[in-house]
Amino acid sequence: MIGERRIRVSVNGTVYEVGVEPRTTLVDFIRGDLGLTGTHVGCEHGVCGACTVLVDGLAVRSCLMLAVQADGSEITTVEGLEGPEGELHPIQEAFREEHGLQCGFCTPGFLMATYEMLTDDPKPDEDEIMEVLGGQLCRCTGYQGIRRAVDSAIDKLGGTPPADVFGAGDPGEPDDPDADAVGAAPTGEGSHG
């Protein structure tokens, strides 16, 4: 077996310094090592988009990255969307109100892809929206509710960048990554060299 590597990543503003086996995918690291199971893992080969997270602000398939590749990165998962009191993010509210989910399996991916899109462009046109939603699969709701939810999210945000909804600062960007918020992963910590 290949020994673990130390990586340092910021996830939703908490910095983790942990050891991971090189073959561990980012999504397995997020779910298994960090216990953040809001990110779902579906097809595991990049098609479904359920595992979409933001890595340094970009929406990517976390099944198509190794955790070691995320060393030094800032990651935002669906858990990073909520407000300080646990309130839903406007994008999440929009999905709930517009029936943008049924079983909810695909939802974290849709939320993160929408988040990136509305960060880039607070008023995307129809082509842009369909292009981004086309990269995410939903097997039960159908896409009309999701499509309406995006419109609703655009309205709710009213041009505010998604990261600024609960005050300044991206949830994935801690004020000082060297500050005290160093978390230890519940598993995989320090068992190998």
Partner: protein, 294 residues
């Protein structure tokens, strides 16, 4: 599910990466954006000992114009290319091809060099490079060399890269003034690999006849390939539906053995190639202009 045990190295220079890839003790493969290799690892279709991760190498992600070429570092992401006004304005076919690749969530990590080195027969960049007369640069233990795109794709997922060589740059000529172009494909869902596609450029001479026509088909054979017979049919002719249809049929007829799989039969792919080529020629001509002063 996760990849079989493997080691990971993230060199910061091309030289280090080449040395790692040439480790005689270990089977090493280069990892670019991972949008094709990672699925193969996850499915355990690939089980290398070592991944040589190119993402930390400095200076491999440029997008620039130089000496009549658009030069793109191998690690330039498709998203960066998509957003490059230089590419959009100076080589619009490459921009259009980029938009047909996957989705933004894939293009955020997928790279120019990765697509070329992966050499999927239905991929967009290889076909555009063949149609445009592009080139790739590769660096190996014995130094750097340049390989024309038409000589780069040898077979299904197989390129002229030698073991231990790294693709470092892809370059395509700037679109000359007056040259028409079209890039068309058919797939079940937008963002999928094409069942068939065609990349076309055409010039008009002073009398308005077609000249210097280039047609590259993809998704129909093991590699993107020029439809030379069809090009000859078009050259010297005035643009017209009849000649374009005839060229399309010739292009399709010249396909040795179209791919056949669950997505499309060989006959269907051949038919798509004919129709798409005819339409692409017609579209390309609408974007072409006669030489100034004619």
């Amino acid at each position: 599910m996760k990849p079989a045990p493997l080691d990971h190295a993230a060199p910061t220079t091309v030289g280090e990466a080449v040395a790692l890839l040439n480790d005689p003790e270990r089977e090493a493969v280069a990892l670019a954006g991972g949008q094709s290799l990672m699925p193969m690892l996850n499915l355990r279709l690939a089980r290398p000992d070592l991944l040589v991760d190119l993402t930390r190498i400095e200076g491999l992600d440029h997008i620039r114009e130089s000496g009549g070429w658009i030069e793109m570092g191998a690690m330039a992401t498709k998203r960066a290319v998509e957003r490059s006004s230089l590419v959009r304005e100076r080589q619009p076919m490459w921009h259009e091809a980029t938009l047909q690749i996957g989705h933004p969530q894939i293009r955020n990590r997928g790279t120019v060099g990765g697509s070329m080195a992966q050499a999927d027969p239905a991929a967009e960049y290889p076909a555009a490079a063949v149609a445009l007369g592009g080139e790739v640069k590769a660096v190996g233990p014995s130094g750097e060399r340049t390989i024309p795109a038409t000589e780069f794709f040898l077979g299904y997922l197989t390129t002229a890269l030698a073991p231990g060589e790294i693709l470092t740059e892809v370059r395509v000529p700037v679109l000359p003034p007056g040259r028409g172009w079209a890039f068309r494909e058919v797939c079940r869902r937008h963002g999928d690999f094409a069942m068939a596609g065609t990349a076309v450029t055409v010039d008009l001479d002073a009398s308005g006849r077609c000249t210097a026509t280039r047609i590259a088909l993809f998704g129909v054979g093991p590699v993107p390939s020029r439809a030379v017979e069809a090009e000859k049919i078009v050259d010297g002719e005035a643009p017209g539906e009849e000649v374009f249809e005839r060229a399309g049929r010739a292009a399709a007829g010249a396909i040795d053995e179209p791919l056949a799989d669950v997505h499309a039969s060989a006959d269907y792919r051949r038919n798509l190639a004919a129709v798409l080529t005819g339409r692409a020629l017609a579209q390309a001509v609408t974007r072409a202009a006669r030489p100034e002063g004619s």
